[in-house]
């Protein structure tokens, strides 16, 4: 498997996962995030009901599941953007329920939004700079004296520019973020979250709508993050990506964690295939398969029509 990218952290992560049981809620050797009994209901609908889940430090963990499984809602609970009906979770051993969103982020757990939140009337570069933590110039009194924060600002800018280049947004650096295309916003969202230098970054469908060529080059970057010691938890529907970069996969359905395991195992799990992946979970369709599928579909349609005609 991708021997060329296997580095120290990756080996460590893989080693950690090696002997783990493939079952929901399995304890990890060195969890950075431990979640217990988190429940969130909307009226009669139980959006999230997670009994126990752990995320291994220094790994790339994918969170997958059908639409409406509760992945985003789960993220919202963990990061303080919504209040869970019950349950508790710890990050780095610290109890995090009830902690307001900004404190969650400061403690090193940063999330991105599925429906992007670009700061429209700030330039792309300013968007990026905003992400940096512990800025001296962000306290009122020090802000009044530019010399106190200039140096730090330059560093931040440099870092921001690096990231922008990486995310192919460098040409847009001085444009308003509001004028970005859908995909560019996704990119900005992710790049901005990385500016925080979090310990755990939670990406909510970072690559939906991003051009595949670019996605590919960004995956390398995500892997680098792991090498830098970051933990990545991401939601994604692109199975190629999941297979390529994740060390571990957690599957949610109807609010519950239904399966956990390494990508390959998960993708051959029949429940996962039923609930999520569908008939062709593997690789893109070959021409023949495509033909066949079409054929099947057509037949179905014909059958339907006939049925209707009978009525």
């Amino acid at each position: 498997m991708h021997a060329e990218t296997t580095k120290e952290q990756k080996t460590a992560a893989l080693a950690a996962f090696k002997d783990l049981a493939r079952e929901p809620g399995v304890p990890k050797p060195d969890p950075i995030l431990v979640v217990d009994n988190v429940v969130r209901r909307f009226g009669g609908l139980t959006a999230v009901e997670v009994e126990h889940v752990e995320v291994q430090r220094g790994s790339i963990t994918a969170l997958i599941g059908p639409n409406g499984a509760g992945k985003t809602t789960f993220f919202n609970q963990l990061t303080g953007f919504d209040t869970a009906d019950s349950g508790q979770w710890t990050f780095n051993g610290r109890n995090m329920n009830g902690v307001p969103a900004h404190k969650v982020a400061r403690s090193g757990m940063v999330r991105t939004f599925q429906l992007t939140k670009a700061l429209s009337k700030l330039t792309v570069l300013e968007n990026m700079r905003l992400g940096a933590q512990a800025q001296k110039g962000e306290t009122f009194w020090r802000a009044l004296v530019p010399s106190l924060w200039r140096g730090q600002e330059d560093e931040i800018t440099e870092r921001a520019e690096e990231l922008l280049t990486r995310f192919k947004l460098d040409a847009k650096r001085d444009d308003f973020a509001g004028s970005l295309s859908g995909g560019q916003r996704k990119l900005l969202e992710m790049a901005r979250a990385l500016m925080v230098r979090p310990e755990l970054v939670m990406l909510d469908e970072p690559m939906a709508g991003v051009n595949p060529a670019l996605t590919q080059s960004l995956l390398g970057h995500v892997k680098d993050l792991r090498e830098q010691g970051m933990t990545v938890l991401f939601v994604e529907h692109d199975m190629d990506m999941v297979r390529d970069i994740s060390d571990w996969v957690i599957v949610m359905a109807q609010g519950n964690v239904i399966a956990e395991g390494p990508p390959d195992t998960i993708m051959s799990d029949s429940r996962v295939i039923d609930a999520y992946l569908g008939a062709h979970h593997d690789a893109p369709l070959s021409e023949d398969e495509l033909e066949q599928q079409l054929h099947e579909a057509e037949e179905e349609l014909v059958a339907e029509n006939e049925e209707e005609a009978k009525k």
């Binding site: 639409n67 859908g182 060529a213 590919q216 529907h237 349609l301």
Partner: protein, 265 residues
């Protein structure tokens, strides 16, 4: 703007010359000629795009982020002001025509973002989809409910509280309510689970088989090229490559610049 493909598009699929376009566009259902359009004064996003769709064709548009794919669709649909160039629908000039009059001419559109009415329920969203043909609502509703059963269960839920994927379903379903004869889809598969992505592609194909002309913008480029008759690669507001889906999917240049090799592994 994004990086320009370094070498001029010179591979076999590279067809940017207008003669081919003009030839093909002769009897097109929908055609755009040298569109120039943009949002901000003085900044053009589309720099003379050409595009045509024949009757019953399924067209794919791919390209890097910010290339102007969405803008192209919006321009055709009257949501972005066209600065020069023309859009013809079945020979009729529809340049800068209001969106709602296009709907009555049988054009349907699924936007990429903000594609549901958040404060309306799912059912009402779909009702709006059938705004011009209220009589058909029941029948069409049954149809889309079968496609996306989740929608029927939740018909009274406000779309604003739906998950990203659920919204995408609503958006797709809304456009299918009218039985359009030309359908513009802007990344319909984004955010959907693999199973539903399949469904969307199959549906697109089926709808197309049923005689509907489809233009589809996709970042799931490989899948898109697999099912489409012809494809356009858009870069910097211009057509960089055109060709049949298969041609484009196999063009090494296109693969390198736009498709990536990941999925091939």
């Amino acid at each position: 703007m994004n990086a320009v493909p370094e070498s001029a598009p010179d591979s076999q699929a590279a067809v940017t010359d207008r003669s081919a376009h003009l030839a093909g566009a002769e009897n097109a259902v929908l055609r755009c000629d040298e569109l120039i359009a943009g949002y901000l004064p003085g900044v053009n996003i589309l720099n003379g795009s050409d595009l045509y769709v024949g009757d019953g064709e399924l067209i794919g548009i791919i390209g890097p982020n910010g290339a102007g794919k969405s803008t192209l669709l919006k321009a055709m649909f009257g949501l972005v002001n066209i600065r020069s160039g023309t859009v013809l629908l079945k020979g009729e000039d529809i340049t800068n025509m209001k969106a709602h009059s296009l709907v009555s001419r049988g054009v349907g559109y699924v936007p990429q973002t903000n594609n549901v009415f958040p404060s309306l329920t799912i059912e009402e969203n779909l009702e709006m989809g059938a705004f011009q043909v209220p009589g058909k609502f029941k029948e069409r509703f049954e149809f889309v409910a079968e496609l996306f059963p989740a929608l029927k269960e939740r018909r009274k839920q406000r779309a604003g509280s739906l998950s990203g994927g659920e919204r995408q379903m609503v958006a797709m379903a809304r456009a299918l309510m009218t039985e359009p004869s030309v359908l513009l889809l802007d990344e319909p598969s984004a955010g959907l689970s693999p199973k539903l992505q399949d469904l969307v592609f199959i549906q697109a194909q089926q709808i197309n088989k049923a005689g509907v002309t489809v233009i589809m913008v996709e970042q799931n480029a490989r899948r898109c090229l697999q099912i489409c008759h012809r494809g356009y690669v858009l870069d910097q507001g211009r057509n960089a490559y055109t060709g049949t889906g298969r041609e484009l999917a196999q063009d090494p240049k296109v693969i390198e610049l736009y498709l990536g090799t990941l999925a091939k592994a």
